[in-house]
């Protein structure tokens, strides 16, 4: 049962309407960052207030919500957000990707393929893919307006010149439906191919920067690269020490004071199911 001191999903109806209108315009112009008036939320900005606001505006009473942080359901951040929606919206929650109708995520896309019955909401710290190259908002807005993305290409080329390959391994920029260059949030570039042609609706919320953007299902999403340096979705060249998966994204964890280390799946639900032989 939800806490009656709050409106359903915390936000007032006027705020939800404003966010809902922004989401619809984001869907209509895939990859374009729609400005919205971000609200104060009862949690710090670093905790994904943009994603929380998008989830609050999209959530229905019948949803089953999963929240992950770096692939894990049990971090403080993920647990707090899950409890927040249990309390304010009374929705059911799950740690299983295939049971969830809505998934809010920070820094990962689940390993289990998403379906057309799901919505994935990303917490975004910095929505502008060119922010580090061009700090002026007026200038990045002009670049997007003209699709003048040469600067981005130059940066990636410089990466190749310096490192022999494209070294950007998180928040690797993508081109959406042949038009806008978009920051997929700090997911590992290993996850980039999952953005493309995805059956689920993908929504992105940046609270501090007050931007919402979206990928409708089955949108063509291409990681930027060059003919002589094609994009590769790299991961650690190991198998998971727990479930043995050779295909999932791995975190390196320190196991003891002597510097012992091992590689385990970052997606804890996938790992648990795979260990049981069920993934």
């Amino acid at each position: 049962m939800s806490d009656q001191a709050y409106n359903f999903a915390y936000l007032d109806e006027g705020t939800k309407r404003m966010i809902r209108r922004a989401i619809l315009k984001g869907i209509a112009v895939p990859g374009y960052q729609v400005p919205f008036a971000s609200r104060e939320m009862p949690m710090p900005y670093g905790w994904g207030t943009g994603g929380v606001q998008v989830t609050a505006a999209v959530l229905t009473p019948g949803d089953v919500l999963k929240v992950i942080d770096q692939g894990a359901d049990d971090t403080t951040n993920a647990v707090s957000i899950r409890k927040f929606f249990q309390r304010t919206a009374g929705v059911a929650t799950t740690e299983r990707t295939n049971e969830a109708t809505m998934i809010q995520t920070r820094h990962r896309i689940p390993e289990t393929p998403l379906t057309g019955d799901q919505i994935l909401v990303y917490q975004v710290p910095i929505p502008e893919p060119m922010r580090f190259l061009e700090p002026r908002e007026t200038e990045t807005r002009r670049i997007h307006a003209l699709a003048d993305y040469g600067l981005m290409q130059v940066r990636l080329y410089e990466d190749i010149a310096r490192h022999g390959e494209i070294a950007t391994s998180y928040a690797y920029p993508v081109e959406v439906a042949g038009r806008y260059v978009m920051d997929p949030s700090p997911i590992p570039k290993f996850d980039n191919p999952k953005l493309d042609d995805c059956p689920a609706i993908q929504l992105f919320g940046a609270g501090r920067e007050q931007r919402i953007y979206a990928l409708p299902p089955y949108t063509h999403v291409r990681s930027l690269d060059f003919e002589d340096h094609p994009f590769t979705a790299s991961k650690a060249d190991h198998a998971c020490a727990i479930c043995g998966s050779g295909t999932s994204y791995l975190d390196e964890v320190i196991t003891d004071d002597a510097g012992g280390r091992m590689f385990v799946c970052s997606d804890t639900d996938y790992c648990a199911q795979n260990a049981k032989g069920g993934a």
């Binding site: 409106n7 359903f8 999903a9 109806e13 006027g14 939800k16 309407r17 404003m18 809902r20 209108r21 922004a22 989401i23 619809l24 315009k25 984001g26 869907i27 209509a28 112009v29 895939p30 374009y32 729609v34 400005p35 505006a57 999209v58 959530l59 229905t60 009473p61 807005r141 002009r142 997007h144 307006a145 003209l146 439906a177 038009r179 806008y180 059956p199 609706i201 979206a214 990928l215 409708p216 299902p217 089955y218 949108t219 063509h220």
Partner: protein, 187 residues
């Protein structure tokens, strides 16, 4: 009349609005999908689906243009009570409501600017004929191809030609609703 106005809004604003928005989002994100929406009803000729859209998305911050038969005193009163949207000319509208013929010419509506393509109108095309000959659709939100009856395929194709500018459309009739974002290609 006041009692009638009161009785035709959402019974539970937060929950009815949440379900209605999910239906509208699904329709906009998956062009060709027809959703059922009837959480509200208003004075003729507005359909329950269009009335539900207004209650879900429109308020005092969204200037609304009423076209043709939808521009009548009873419906104005109902909208003033439930949404408080200011009534404006087509050129200044964030939302527009009317049947397709009354919304003409559609090039009056805002299409956004290159810097802010989101500042574009959303047309609620009411009394839409969902059973007319279907048009073939491709683009974001569509796996391979989809089909949907459109009031005038050529107008939607011209609007898509403006992408990333352009208006977006929500088609309604009775309790049925579909949507066509500017990103959809018409073939």
């Amino acid at each position: 009349m006041t009692a009638q106005i009161l009785s035709e809004g959402f019974k539970d604003a937060a929950r009815d609005g949440a379900h209605a928005f999910r239906a509208i989002l699904t329709a906009m994100a998956r062009p060709g999908t027809i959703a059922t929406l009837q959480a509200a009803s208003g004075p003729a000729p507005i359909s329950p689906a269009a009335a539900t859209v207004l209650l879900t998305l429109c308020d005092r911050t969204t200037p609304l243009h009423l076209a043709g038969a939808h521009d009548n005193p009873e419906l104005r009163d109902w909208i003033a009570f439930h949404c408080a949207s200011p009534f404006v000319s087509a050129e200044n509208a964030t939302f527009a409501l009317g049947d397709w013929a009354a919304l003409q010419p559609v090039d009056r509506f805002g299409i956004g600017t290159p810097e802010y393509p989101d500042r574009a109108a959303t047309l609620i095309v009411d009394r839409h004929d969902f059973d007319a000959a279907p048009t073939r659709l491709t683009g974001p939100g569509i796996r391979d191809t989809a089909t949907l009856a459109l009031p005038e395929a050529r107008a939607f194709a011209a609007n898509h030609g403006l992408f990333p500018l352009g208006w977006d459309a929500i088609l309604t009739s009775g309790s049925r609703l579909a949507a066509l974002p500017r990103s959809t290609e018409i073939s």
